[in-house]
């Protein structure tokens, strides 16, 4: 089969004409999608880093309970990890072998009050009251503190923490212990 130069040019033009059609597909506008993805990614990474610092990675294993009470909307959170007491994401006092160093407590090893914790909780509560007033609300009549603790936390440490928070300076009166909801297991039939 042979073509004249004119026919050959026509075939080439036709073939070349097909190429730009593909360019439309190559230039699909994916910028909005990329923007959205990048913003979401940054938000998720930020969120993950905040919760990671709050819980100091996965060091806290919550105990399970059948309790059905929902969580309150607003309250300060204190986390007792096996290595530290963490308040609102910041490490306050170190924990070693399930207890706080005697030097951190008023009265030494036999004392209950963790001085630094009481002081920081007092300032946190003052801040909470200020925020409430700024929002045109009354400060909480019965200030509450959420406590998240590792399942192995000894009673003595929990007691010391609640005692410190209940001291007059800090003034927390109600404590909510956060647990993981237990779903009952039934034997397979």
């Amino acid at each position: 089969m042979s073509f004249s130069p004119r026919e050959a040019r026509a075939i080439i033009r036709k073939a070349v004409g097909r190429v730009p059609e593909g360019e439309e597909i190559r230039h699909l506008n994916i910028m909005p999608m990329m923007d959205m993805m990048t913003i979401l990614l940054v938000a998720f990474i930020f969120q993950a880093s905040v919760s990671a610092s709050a819980l100091t990675a996965s060091s806290v294993t919550l105990p399970r309970s059948m309790t059905e009470e929902p969580l309150p909307e607003e309250a300060s959170t204190l986390i007792i990890t096996p290595t530290a007491l963490v308040l609102e994401g910041e490490e306050i006092v170190a924990v070693r072998n399930g207890s706080v160093d005697a030097g951190e407590k008023e009265g030494g090893a036999r004392g209950y009050k963790i001085t630094k914790l009481t002081r920081i909780l007092a300032s946190l509560r003052a801040l909470e009251n200020q925020n409430a007033v700024a929002k045109g609300r009354e400060p909480a009549k019965i200030p509450e503190l959420l406590i998240i603790a590792d399942r192995t936390t000894p009673f003595r440490l929990l007691f010391d923490v609640i005692y410190s928070a209940k001291e007059k300076e800090a003034g927390y009166k109600r404590f909510r212990l956060i647990v993981q909801k237990h779903e009952p297991i039934t034997a397979a039939k």
């Binding site: 009470e69 929902p70 192995t152 212990l177 647990v179 993981q180 039934t186 034997a187 397979a188």
Partner: protein
Amino acid sequence: MAVKRREALIEQEEIEGGELNLIPYLDIVTNLMLFLLASISAGILLGQLNTMLPDKAPAGASANEPKPDTNPDEIPLKMVVSVTKEQIILWSVSQREGTLQSPRLVLPRIGLDGNRCDGGYMCESGWCDPGKAVCGPNPEGEQRRLPVFDYRELNRVLKEIATKYYTPSKKRPLDTYQAVLMADDSTPYETLISVMGAMRCPMPEIGEASERCYLPSNDEILTKAENPVDDFNRLYDTTRVDYDPEKHALFNDILFSRGFE
């Protein structure tokens, strides 16, 4: 030949034009997004238990002695649950339901491998086999074994006590819902939570789903409301509703204590 040349030219233009290939970037971002979405909360359902420490009585005070003319049913039992390393002891300060020397109930440790369970909280290993509903070695790796007691028996006896004193057709005063939880310093948090769970509300039988119990309240809004029961928040007005141990809390007002001074 000319078509090939033209295509090569376009490709060359693309390379020289500096257009980035964003496909790998999009792949990474999409994978990260999926991973982060899946890892958020990891489906953990949270609940909460309320508690507080008892206030210190002023020197010379005689621990809230009731007035002589008080109705015996309205005198708080002052139930105490003492958790030691090896057992749970149930007794009362009022001496109406056992004393420390002669307790109402003593529960030794249980939760050994092979015992029946309906959740990890009933096993020392923290693992309840979902197929057989028995305790066993933890397949997720051996964790520290924590003491476990027969919480259902504790719950059953507390329910029996509440039924004995506050039924039938009786209004149960708010201060009678108080009980003291006294524990050894080394008692782990998980054991405390399980004991508190057994003290607060009637527990379902093994394998049955739990239902949120109604808590007593003297909330001003509820006491003035036409309906003395708030089904949404699961609260009831103790002054207008007869006590029902099947639906209502047992001893939900729990005070922590390390002993007597």
